[in-house]
């Protein structure tokens, strides 16, 4: 098990390094932060000074090795916009992002799971069709369209909620709901097929033959088993908690990590982008590992299988 974990972590580290390297090359070669940050009207000397200051005048491979040398010494670099530690810059934004992505995750699950289960239980009836219809519809509306429309309805016309900003909990409602609705649709589809799969298993028939009422069969036997594959997608959602809100954050002026990423990428603020990528990569990996471990806890069969797969 330890070996399996180590193996996974090693692979994850290589993966993250790969991502960070790719991002390094892309960012370095596709834009000069000096012009972007200082603006096109700043004098050329300012650009020169800026480049010299940040080492951008050195050959790219020198920059690359210096960057990694620093990273291995635990120095993740500073934002070129204000010279603050990139870690701090990103760190400030994390709570804000989580403040909408966590409740959104909750909404996704609270709507998606029951909807998917219902659709599976009533397969091929109007209940199923309606749920799947709504789910697919939810999934197919671009989230910024949905966001803008929601803002227009609830902020401008009805005046119930603020249309953007991050001051109070009320500001979080629309972005959360927008993300929640889109995600719930995905979960509902996934849950439905997981549930259908389980309902076809022999042990469901055994449970019925035992004399359990159908609702108890569903509750005690089908649901726990259907929860297992659903874990994967939940893991994926958790992995995208940090930077999964790029578009919604922009629409609702929510100053989270997603928007920081967009800005940092646009500014070619390398250190900040890299910290976010690391963060995203590591949460993904962490979520995957957590799911792996949870799998073992929820599904006793895997306690053995996983071990064997590790060989």
């Amino acid at each position: 098990m330890v070996q399996y974990l180590l193996m996974k972590i090693f692979r994850a580290l290589v993966t993250v390094t790969l991502i960070v390297s790719a991002a390094f090359v892309v960012l370095r070669l596709s834009g000069d932060p000096a012009i972007i940050i200082l603006g096109p009207e700043a004098p050329p000397e300012a650009f020169e000074a800026f480049r010299r200051n940040w080492g951008l005048d050195q050959p790219i491979w020198v920059q690359y090795f210096k960057y990694f040398a620093a990273v291995f010494q635990g120095d993740l670099g500073n934002s070129m916009r204000d010279g603050r530690s990139a870690l701090v810059v990103v760190g400030e934004r994390i709570p804000l992002t989580l403040a909408i992505t966590l409740p959104a995750l909750f909404i996704k699950l609270a709507i998606g799971l029951p909807a998917g289960v219902m659709a599976a239980l009533y397969r091929n009836t109007w209940v199923d069709r309606l749920i799947m219809m709504l789910s697919v519809a939810g999934f197919t509306v671009p989230s910024f369209v949905l966001g803008l429309v929601l803002a227009m309805i609830f902020a401008v016309w009805l005046g119930w909620l603020p249309s953007g900003g991050s001051d109070t909990w009320a500001h979080a409602v629309l972005p959360t709901v927008t993300m929640g609705l889109v995600g719930a649709a995905v979960i509902a589809r996934f849950t439905r097929s997981a549930m259908l799969e389980v309902l076809g298993q022999p042990y469901i028939r055994t449970a019925s033959a035992k004399g359990l009422l159908w609702r108890d069969v569903v509750r005690n036997h089908a649901l726990p088993n259907a929860a297992i594959p659903t874990l994967t997608i939940i893991g994926f959602l958790v992995g995208s908690l940090v930077a999964g809100a790029v578009v919604v954050e922009s629409v609702f002026s929510w100053p989270g990590v997603g928007r920081l990423l967009v800005n940092a990428v646009a500014n070619r603020d390398l250190a900040v982008v890299q910290v976010i990528l690391l963060l995203v990569g590591l949460t993904m990996v962490g979520a995957n590992l957590a799911v792996d471990i949870l799998y073992g806890i929820v599904d006793p069969r895997l306690r053995i299988k996983r071990l064997q797969a590790g060989s």
């Binding site: 692979r11 994850a12 290589v14 993966t15 993250v16 790969l18 991502i19 790719a22 991002a23 892309v26 960012l27 070669l29 596709s30 834009g31 069709r129 799947m132 219809m133 697919v136 519809a137 999934f139 197919t140 509306v141 671009p142 989230s143 910024f144 369209v145 803008l148 429309v149 227009m152 401008v156 589809r189 097929s193 076809g200 992995g239 930077a243 790029v246 578009v247 922009s250 990423l261 967009v262 990428v265 982008v273 990528l277 995203v280 990569g281 993904m284 990996v285």
Partner: protein, 305 residues
């Protein structure tokens, strides 16, 4: 064989020549069970889209780039406009209907081609991983992980920066989206196909790996792949609109559904038609394809045999 073929005896009952007992459903019911109305509607819409894609050149009433600054922001017919511009005009006085038609064409072609690319790349890598296992598989899995964890925005940016905003390159870029999922699926399917009998059986006949993968495994997993491609297709359309939102999508003067929505969003209050028409096209099309995909999944359900 002992099948009695003597023809000179009447069957037991003239109404049915066999002993099986059938109870027919009403035609209508049977038809709608086989072809649910939603599926029919979805098929119809996909058909319409197909016609638009093929015939955009002839259907579009105006040149989609022709601008007329004196006829800016004319509302569509149902919002008080007239029939010269049935869906109104945009901020440069271009005919929204014509742009919509061309946008549909371009978005669909992008989505189709890039899905194809994703399929080819994904299936090839998935098969390579499944065939070689070991180190090579680990490397491919790593690529898959990296792709999945890398915000797509960064890749999009790279392409836009290095390769310019050519439509061709953009299509290839979009092909990079989703290959990792397809690679994962086809690797899984190929491994289980290898474990299942037929692939092993053919190998044991002396077939080369290429033959096994191309002739046997690919056709066998095709149905599952097609279903997952029907998921990829709408996602590419949505992704393109998301990238357009960030200014990284299809670039002017070219147009696409995402591009129209992206540039039209500023007009959501003053001239909503600019954005609503392409939004509706996105929703209806992705909805239709998803419905067809789900329907196909049920059709391909292995429990049927």
């Amino acid at each position: 064989m002992t099948i009695d073929t003597t023809p000179d005896l009447e069957p037991a009952s003239p109404t049915h020549a066999s002993g099986s007992v059938f109870t027919s459903k009403s035609r209508l019911r049977a038809f709608f069970e086989a072809w649910p109305p939603l599926v029919l509607i979805a098929l119809f819409w996909v058909g319409v889209i197909a016609v638009v894609v093929v015939g955009a050149k002839w259907i579009a009433p105006y040149d989609f780039m022709a601008l007329d600054l004196r006829a800016r922001l004319i509302p569509p017919v149902f919002m008080g406009g007239d029939w010269t511009h049935p869906l109104g005009t945009d901020e440069l006085g271009r005919d929204v209907l014509s742009r919509l038609i061309v946008s549909i064409q371009i978005s669909m072609v992008i989505a189709f081609l890039s899905t194809l690319i994703a399929a080819i790349v994904g299936v090839s890598l998935g098969f390579i991983a499944a065939y070689f296992r070991g180190r090579i598989e680990q490397v491919i899995l790593m690529l898959i992980d990296a792709q999945a964890a890398m915000p797509f925005m960064i890749i999009a940016l790279a392409v836009l920066a290095f390769l310019g905003s050519s439509l061709f390159l953009f299509t290839i870029l979009m092909g990079f989206y989703g290959w990792e999922r397809i690679a994962r699926i086809s690797r899984g399917l190929a491994i289980s196909a290898n474990e299942r009998g037929y692939a092993t059986a053919v190998r044991d006949l002396g077939a080369t790996p290429f033959r096994i993968y191309s002739r046997h495994i690919l056709p066998n997993i095709a149905s599952t792949l097609i279903v997952s491609l029907t998921l990829n297709f709408p996602e590419v359309i949505l992704l393109e609109s998301g990238l357009s939102f960030l200014g990284l999508g299809v670039q002017p003067p070219m147009t696409s559904l995402g591009n129209m929505v992206g540039y039209g969003r500023d007009y959501i209050q003053s001239a909503p038609w600019i954005m609503l028409a392409p939004s509706a096209a996105i929703v209806l099309t992705t909805l239709s394809i998803s419905i067809l995909g789900d329907w196909m999944r049920d059709k391909f359900d292995p429990t049927l045999d």
